[in-house]
């Protein structure tokens, strides 16, 4: 961590990697649906984030990635479940207490432009967070963070969000989050609206930032190669549940869940002439997405799964461990 940032440096244990900074247990997020019924956005997911780790969250549009990310932040709080940040429970707290307990976790929301006050200037947007806490922020601190995320302070200082490009906006959001000196950073689709050259810059920036500020990160995205590039482990979600947790270096060749295989088979990258992807065809018969208003019984993927049998309709498959750190929730996957 660079010494000039006035907020105190994060307490980083010497031994990294085993310490669990975030422990999520049986997280459930439900919304009331128009016309009655319930949207089952997240249906009981448990995972942990280790110190210094990047956990990728990958999955279908509407599968509950953002809802899960926001529920970690208690924005809004989950319907049920537990979120421990450094062993401190966040669920059940509100207002100032929540803000204090959650201080070490920050989130960059999907669609960053709409989360920025359009009337404020860059210099004020960067300092907004600490000022809410009543902390003073010096111009030097703002300059330093803008530089750290690759923005030229002089040229963006007085600009407003709409005067920034998508990539610049994303950099600004990273700077805003860093200003609060987080230990855990949740990034919701931070590069999906950017073109590939800017995407590469932002991914490199996040990687550097993570090292420099010793962050643990949750990275939500739907692009497999992007998630693989930034993550240590990847959690694959389908319709509110976890189907597989896979070490990133195993993703391309050792995926076990039929849904993960379907994702791999569908990547457009496979169309590039030099793609070295050998994906077995899963042969999905049904491309229809079930509704989160009425998710299938048992395994939620069963309506699209070529391996499905009777048990899949009656029993939700538990997460089973294959090799160390590789978990899969499928009755028929060979672990």
């Amino acid at each position: 961590m660079s010494g000039t940032l006035a907020t105190q440096p994060p307490a980083v244990p010497e031994e990294r990697g085993d310490e669990r900074v975030l422990v999520v247990d049986d997280l459930v997020v439900e919304f009331p649906a128009k016309g009655g019924g319930t949207v089952h956005a997240v249906s009981g997911i448990s995972f942990e984030l280790r110190d210094g780790e990047t956990l990728g969250i990958l999955g279908e549009s509407g599968c509950g990635k953002s809802s899960a990310g926001r529920a970690l932040m208690q924005l809004p709080p989950p319907t049920s479940g537990s979120v421990l940040l450094n062993d401190v429970e966040l669920v059940g707290h509100t207002g100032r207490t929540l803000r204090r307990k959650r201080a070490k976790m920050q989130m960059i929301f999907q669609d960053p432009v709409s989360s920025l006050n359009p009337r404020r200037k860059v210099k004020d947007l960067v300092a907004e967070g600490p000022r809410i806490w009543g902390r003073k922020v010096t111009e030097d601190q703002i300059r330093e963070l803008l530089l750290a995320v690759g923005l030229d302070p002089e040229s963006v200082w007085d600009r407003r969000p709409h005067e920034l490009s998508g990539g610049q906006c994303q950099r600004l959001c990273i700077a805003r989050a860093l200003m609060l000196d987080p230990q855990v950073l949740i990034c919701d689709e931070p590069v999906s609206s950017l073109d590939v050259s800017v995407q590469a810059q932002i991914l490199n920036l996040l990687e550097d930032t993570k090292q420099r500020y010793r962050l643990s990160m949750i990275f939500i995205a739907h692009d497999l190669a992007v998630v693989k590039n930034i993550s240590d482990r990847i959690m694959v979600m389908y319709l509110g549940r976890i189907c597989e947790v896979i070490p990133a270096d195993r993703l391309a060749e050792h995926a076990l869940h039929p849904y993960t295989k379907l994702l791999l088979e569908s990547v457009p990258e496979a169309q590039l002439p030099d793609a070295e992807l050998e994906v077995e065809e899963v042969g999905v018969t049904n491309a229809e997405l079930p509704s989160p208003l009425d998710p299938p019984s048992g395994c939620r993927f069963r309506t699209r799964c070529p391996l499905a049998t009777e048990i899949c309709a009656t029993e939700a498959p538990p997460l089973r461990e294959s090799v160390s750190g590789h978990l899969v929730a499928c009755h028929h996957a060979e672990v």
């Binding site: 990258e269 169309q271 002439p273």
Partner: protein, 344 residues
């Protein structure tokens, strides 16, 4: 798709299936801004046959969307914009059409999927209204048939529970859902040309594949031509017959999709290909970002627009603007010092 095949009433069945549909000739779109004249599209030419797909790739701000909108006639010469060159759509000069003809063109001949689905959706109107309005106006459907057709269209683009979703407002849907609604709207009147501006950016890969397959099927069935604008090179590689790489309002390189991705000659195309993370590479490899900032489009660099960021640039690149020149049949690039020289 089956629902389409069985509907005869309003189909433009007698449409020709081959021949040139669109000819863009030295098109320039200059936007007059407070900071000066912005050359968003700066001399683009190409033709598109019926049933053909051209992919347009290039970095943010390179003019892809403005090009799409100018082709549609959404930009016209006026106080804020100056257009030169020509867009010939099905034998008609789009720039010469009045507002009434343009609206009927958009309703029935050209469909556009706009980049930001929220701007295309009115937040206070239910999803169903968005679809039925255009169906009733351009196909003359009554209230009930229009609603039935709207449900069909939502089903067609893979929206679960269409009968329930049709009465929802845009903000009640996830980003991916909204994108599919916008695609359904663009397809509602089975246009001859679909301009799809980042149509699958917000979608995960299985839905992306489903939507692109859907577009491909509709294309085969009705001979629809597609301009596919995407920053995802993989999407374009798999779906387009031809690809144009844009940089700073100009076409840097164009070729059939296979050639362009296997044998890029323009340094910008090469850099773009290198910047994508690849599934066969290990986690945490450093990506090859393109150094430098995007060009100023008010005062673009003299000479080659890419020269300030180009690893191969030499003196002539900074003074002489390279024109598109043929490498092989149908493969054109605008570069003084192309890459892969001799491998061809």
């Amino acid at each position: 798709m089956t629902s389409n095949a069985t509907r005869e009433s309003t189909r433009p069945a007698e449409r020709p299936r081959s021949g040139t549909l669109l000819a863009v000739e030295d098109l320039r779109t200059v936007i007059h801004t407070a900071r000066g004249d912005l050359k968003a599209v700066d001399g683009v030419s190409f033709t598109l046959d019926r049933g053909e797909t051209i992919g347009i790739v290039g970095e943010s701000g390179s003019g892809k969307s403005v090009l799409g909108r100018t082709i549609m006639g959404l930009h016209t010469t006026g106080p804020t914009t100056t257009i030169s060159g020509r867009v010939m759509f099905d034998g008609r000069d789009v720039q010469s059409l009045g507002p009434k003809d343009l609206r009927s063109l958009w309703g029935s001949q050209i469909g556009m999927v706009f980049q930001d689905p929220m701007t295309a959706l009115n937040p206070v109107k239910k999803i169903g209204v968005h679809l039925t309005e255009t169906l009733r106006k351009h196909q003359g459907l009554g209230r009930t048939p229009a609603r039935e057709r709207a449900v069909e269209l939502l089903d067609l683009v893979g929206i679960p529970d269409p009968r329930r979703r049709i009465d929802q407002f845009p903000h009640e849907m996830s980003g991916g859902m909204r994108q599919r609604v916008v695609i359904a709207m663009a397809l509602a009147n089975e246009p001859a040309l679909l301009i799809a501006d980042e149509p699958t950016t917000a979608l995960d890969v299985t839905v992306q594949r489903q939507i692109l397959d859907l577009l491909g099927n509709l294309q085969a069935e009705m001979g629809m031509a597609i301009i596919l604008i995407s920053h995802n090179l993989g999407v374009v590689a798999g779906r387009a017959d031809r690809v144009a790489v844009m940089y700073a309002g100009r076409v840097a390189e164009t070729a059939d999709a296979k050639t362009l991705f296997a044998d890029p000659r323009h340094p910008y195309s090469e850099a773009l290909l290198r910047a994508i993370p690849r599934l066969h590479e290990p986690p945490h490899v450093r990506l090859a970002a393109i150094d430098g900032a995007p060009p100023n489009m008010v005062q673009p660099p003299v000479g080659c627009r890419f020269a300030p960021r180009c690893a191969y640039a030499q003196e002539d690149c900074r003074t002489v603007l390279p024109e598109l020149e043929p490498a092989a049949t149908g493969h054109l690039f605008a570069c003084h010092h192309p890459v892969n020289r001799g491998e061809n």
